[in-house]
Symmetry: C2
Subunit: 683 residues, 2 copies
């Protein structure tokens, strides 16, 4: 897993070919754009406004029956129970299941759950699923309920098991499940979050509630509970537990709720991590998406373009996979009756999603490839939570309130946000779109595997990513704090970032007084006038490079471009150092904090990469603290859409006289620089 | 029930007010139009082409298992059976029904079937529904099966009970049910179609098949059966029964199948009658619909505008009521499992539609107003057909092939077509849109009551309308035949129209030789030059009207405008005849055959209306046989969108010198002519 993996040559050609072909349709596409602009104009830009008003939040909204009764607001331990009555009734129903209609010839899962495969699931459930053992398993974490806004809200609370005197900060994180998931989604993930890691100075305390109407949280009696209302309930829950600042993680519906929490409670949510990073309900997002049908590269990185384009194919998939959504948003109670009455029907309804949303191509298989990624026991644990609590109907009703998101997805939030994009997840959106809402969208982790149910399918990857994200969130807040007047003292039990964490972060340690013999980059003519420090801290006057051709590049160890760049820069150096090529690499931590390490750590990394060219001290390349050399480079070679350096591995070519003559972004592989270099060698 | 009922003053004011208000939004609307045109241009008018190619039809396409086996193509009697095993199993399941989730507070049916009302349905089914009696009831008509394209296809065949020597023509009609209906829809309708009527010279022989995969017709084993494929199966079925020409009636999915039959087999389908007259899958229809948001009167009669505008409200209803459609078009097999396993779920799923589609406002009621229009026994008969045959899954699969209609709805057909529009039916389309496909769309019957399931809800109204429609179809073919060289002799057992029917139709009996002292209307200066015949057949020279102000109007007895026009024309005559007003009314049968009667019948009708003004012989006002007077009127006062007379009750005002000076359409009430008349009286 890494971010922004660059294209191979073959991929690039394929990509270009695809979009060359598409250019045949450009006349049509231009019309689409014209239409969009007209639409925009016609609605007086209403759709494109992002200043939607944050809706009023009623923290006391009552969801129970009227007349209101006293509710028990104490925190009470709770045990999951698969009662004998329930289990026997279930077994009876499974035994007396109907004769299901045979599937169409060669249909696989393409018309839905294949009824030839279903008996395998139902037989296992009836005869092999170990109800007692699974009940024990589900009770392995501490469960509680407490009364909030008229409903008993259930949650699991898992604290890390710390040794005495461990110097580690415990950070609260709210994990929010989705539909048709439940708290069961997190059973494999939780241990990975509450276990300290050797290289991390923090660990998590997990709060994983059941959404009201799902599983063990009571269903609302009143109409109108959607993502916003759940967000309020969870805000109240966390407050009840004493948490005023915490991290939030969610996928699917949990991502929507988490996103709304970040929108409504930006001072409470320290960071939002999601494995479903999407803002589907934003007209501007739709506009971007349409715009990308003409100029995909303006919207999405070439490496990821095939996750959303051709748009027709993407939309076909979305339409294909949202029939349940349409039904549940309009008539949840109707289909709920059948699903409450038939465990076979419930299992098929839920498990079909685990097949299709893990990879839509699974529908080709007669078994929906369901058991390739999941064990039947784990899948049925989740179904059991719906069945025994009879909560499928109330869970589906949440879809009737999704329309709220037409407002909420449009309200920007400053809460730092981090997405992880699994390859086969249903919906994909590029960072350019996500930044419409998440003003501090710090990073996307790109995973070339995995689907919609990440916590169950790839808990290791997800856990690693959550640690990385929170590490970054902490630094985000540290940076922010540096730039602000000192705030009030930290509150009890909040996750105000880790004072114990030693500052291994020299990003901006170059204080004004300490700056090297300052050269005025506005007047300089050549890089040879500047002085920098090498990775060991020694001053290096760049006039030593006179008569040599230079590549000056900002590098980072944890970037998607790292591997290819280090490899090809090495190749260039080996091949052309004889002709006078020198490569000057400046580590920089300004892009998604992908160069966080100390000089020693960086050196260790570059040694492993067998880097032979010259490595310098970590610098800032943008902003007020940017190194004068970099300001000079940017002045001499401006960039598209602004001079600032856009990302790691921006490459400047400097001629023998020290004059920057070319500039390339990270999308350009180092080997593509050869023709430019060769011209300069011969000058 | 009548066609095109005119607006009352109050309605008109309300209408004008509504659309005046809407004019505030015109800037936006213009943009919508611009967008539409751009879309049209961008797709090189592809969407707007109506010359889609008729798809290839495979009359032998195999729907059974492979390898193919011999199928029994004989016609075999069939009996519906509610076996004891099935019934006992059903009762067990109903007894052991789950505890269903309680509905949300005050939800009625707005989230789907209300689980508080459901027990009433299930208890009745379990304890009171008389399985033996209903089995006998369903067997009251003759049922058959026969093998077609690899499947046993079931149908009911009901012949009229004719007395010896009855001089009546028997016409075959194919009745096609819909989803979630079945042959049960037609049990009340059939007797009304097979019983001779005193004033009709024909009666029906009904063939009502089960669509393959519904009820007693086997489900296809192969993928791909949609409306087109069903149309072929039914074509083959009718051929097997010896019918090469027949009428087709259908609603809901039956309307789609019937429409496709009219498209693919125009020489076979003598007329298509539908209670769901819609072409939803036509881009041009969508364009018209959007266009109507700006100028509704261009698209839809003012009296009916509120059935489709405001469009946002109409679309909201469509979206609200099509969740099942989306699900069934994508994952029918998944939800099919629950519905096959749970009779409670099946009943809720099916009966919710009988509530919502009979009137969407029914969802306000806790019982969905389900039993206001239907008896529970009748509704459960239909559910029983799905349950005992386990055919809900295969029935739902048809939706996956609806995409065919994007082509088929766009191919025009010449088959005469007649729609009946029940007020609360889900989808409404005006005639202007229907004529895009149905080039001979003869008439819409407007009913101010009734919903989607017309055959069960209002069988009398539907039966009357089918008789009216077929009567008109017959005359359509007679007229067509007159204008064609004589065709080959009629085939056996076809429905070639009724030679026994006496021609009470003098529409075009004015043969060229007989024409009155022909005046060249191109040269005439005054109506006073013309001679016409009065209703008794006597010649009348119009110079007798010199010095008088005239209203010349084409009238019809069966038009929606008839009542108001006769009433107000009488008022005008009474008030202004003293001032010299004369009204010359010319019966005309050219608009939906709404003036079919003989002179005696017309006289009888006008007497009942207390008509005092002058009545003339029935004439043609358009076409080659149009009366010269009318050609003169049209030449002197051309109309919007062409000079031809658009409908009954077009009114020309003629001054004292015989010069036509004004023209008004049927939308203008006669009393609105007063200011124009008064100017002329004083001249």
């Amino acid at each position: 897993m890494s971010s922004k993996r660059p294209l191979t040559k073959a991929q690039k050609q394929q990509y270009e070919k695809k979009y060359e072909k598409r250019s045949l349709y450009i006349p049509k596409k231009y019309f689409v754009i014209a239409i969009i602009f007209l639409l925009a104009a016609s609605s007086k830009l209403y759709f494109f406004k992002t200043d939607c008003v944050i809706p009023n939040v009623d923290f006391e909204q009552w969801w129970g029956s009227y007349p209101k009764t006293e509710i028990d607001t104490s925190i009470r331990p709770f045990m999951i129970e698969f009662s004998d009555i329930k289990v026997n009734d279930l077994k009876e129903r499974l035994l007396h299941r109907a004769q299901f209609a045979p599937p169409l010839d060669s249909a696989g899962f393409s018309y839905g759950f294949n009824s030839l495969f279903l008996p395998k699931v139902l037989d296992f459930w009836q005869k092999e699923y170990n109800f007692e053992e699974r009940e024990r398993f589900l009770n392995k974490y501490n469960h509680f309920v407490t009364g909030i806004q008229g409903l008993d809200v259930h949650y699991m609370h898992v604290k890390p098991d710390l040794g005495v005197g461990d110097d580690i900060t415990v950070l609260p994180i709210l994990l929010i499940h989705g539909w048709p998931g439940s708290i069961r989604e997190f059973y494999e993930l939780i241990p990975k979050l509450v276990t300290p890691r050797p290289n991390q100075k923090f660990v998590f305390e997990v709060i994983a509630p059941s959404i009201p109407g799902f599983g063990y949280s009571q269903a609302p009696v009143q109409q109108g509970m959607g993502p916003q209302e759940v967000a309020v309930v969870f805000y109240n829950l966390m407050k009840r537990l004493g948490f005023t600042k915490y991290y939030v993680q969610g996928g699917n519906y949990g991502a929507k709720i988490g996103s709304v929490m970040a929108t409504l409670f930006p001072d409470t949510v320290l960071g939002f991590h999601t494995n479903t990073p999407t803002i589907m309900w934003s007209p501007m997002a739709i506009f971007y998406t349409l715009f990308g049908t003409i100029w995909p590269s303006f919207i999405v990185e070439p490496t990821l373009a095939d996750r959303m384009y051709p748009l027709s194919q993407y939309l076909r998939t979305i339409i294909q996979e949202t029939g349940h959504f349409h039904l549940q948003a309009t008539k949840p109670d109707t289909v709920g009756i059948a699903l409450s009455d038939s465990p076979a029907g419930l299992a098929a309804y839920i498990l079909e999603k685990f097949s299709a949303w893990t990879d839509v191509d699974n529908k080709q298989a007669i078994d929906g490839a369901l058991l390739h990624k999941f064990s039947l026991t784990h899948l049925l644990d989740n179904v059991m939570i719906y069945w025994t609590t009879n909560s499928i109907t109330s869970s589906m009703r949440h879809y009737t309130e999704y329309k709220q998101l037409w407002v909420l997805d449009r309200i920007p939030t400053d809460v730092p946000t981090w997405g992880i994009k699994f390859k086969y997840n249903l919906c994909f959106q590029p960072d350019s779109i996500l930044r419409l809402k998440y003003k501090n969208y710090l990073h996307s982790s790109i995973v070339e595997d995995g689907g919609h149910f990440a916590a169950m399918e790839m808990p290791d990857v997800l856990a690693d990513d959550i640690f990385d994200a929170v590490d970054t969130f902490i630094r985000f807040h540290e940076e922010k704090k540096k730039n602000e007047p000192q705030p009030e003292p930290a509150e009890s039990k909040t996750a105000e970032t880790v004072s114990a964490k030693k500052s291994t972060e020299p990003v901006k340690k170059t204080e004004p007084a300490k700056k090297p013999t300052e050269v005025d980059y506005m007047k300089a003519k050549s890089v040879h006038e500047f002085t920098v420090k090498d990775i060991h801290g020694n001053e290096v006057k760049l006039d030593r490079y006179k008569g040599q051709v230079l590549i000056i590049v900002n590098v980072a160890s944890n970037c998607g471009y790292t591997n290819v760049h280090y490899k090809q820069l090495n190749e260039l150096y080996e091949k052309y150092s004889g002709k006078g090529l020198r490569i000057l690499a400046f580590p920089c931590n300004q892009f998604a904090y992908q160069e966080p390490g100390s000089p020693e750590e960086i050196l260790k990394f570059t040694k492993a990469k067998q880097v032979k060219f010259d490595l310098f001290e970590k610098v800032a390349v943008n902003g007020e603290d940017a190194h004068p050399l970099w300001n000079f480079l940017k002045r001499m070679q401006g960039g598209t859409l602004g001079d600032f350096v856009k990302w790691n591995f921006s490459k400047f070519i400097v001629d023998k006289n020290g004059v920057p003559v070319e500039r390339f972004g990270p999308n350009t592989d180092p080997l593509e620089l050869v023709p430019y270099l060769e011209k300069l060698f011969d000058q």
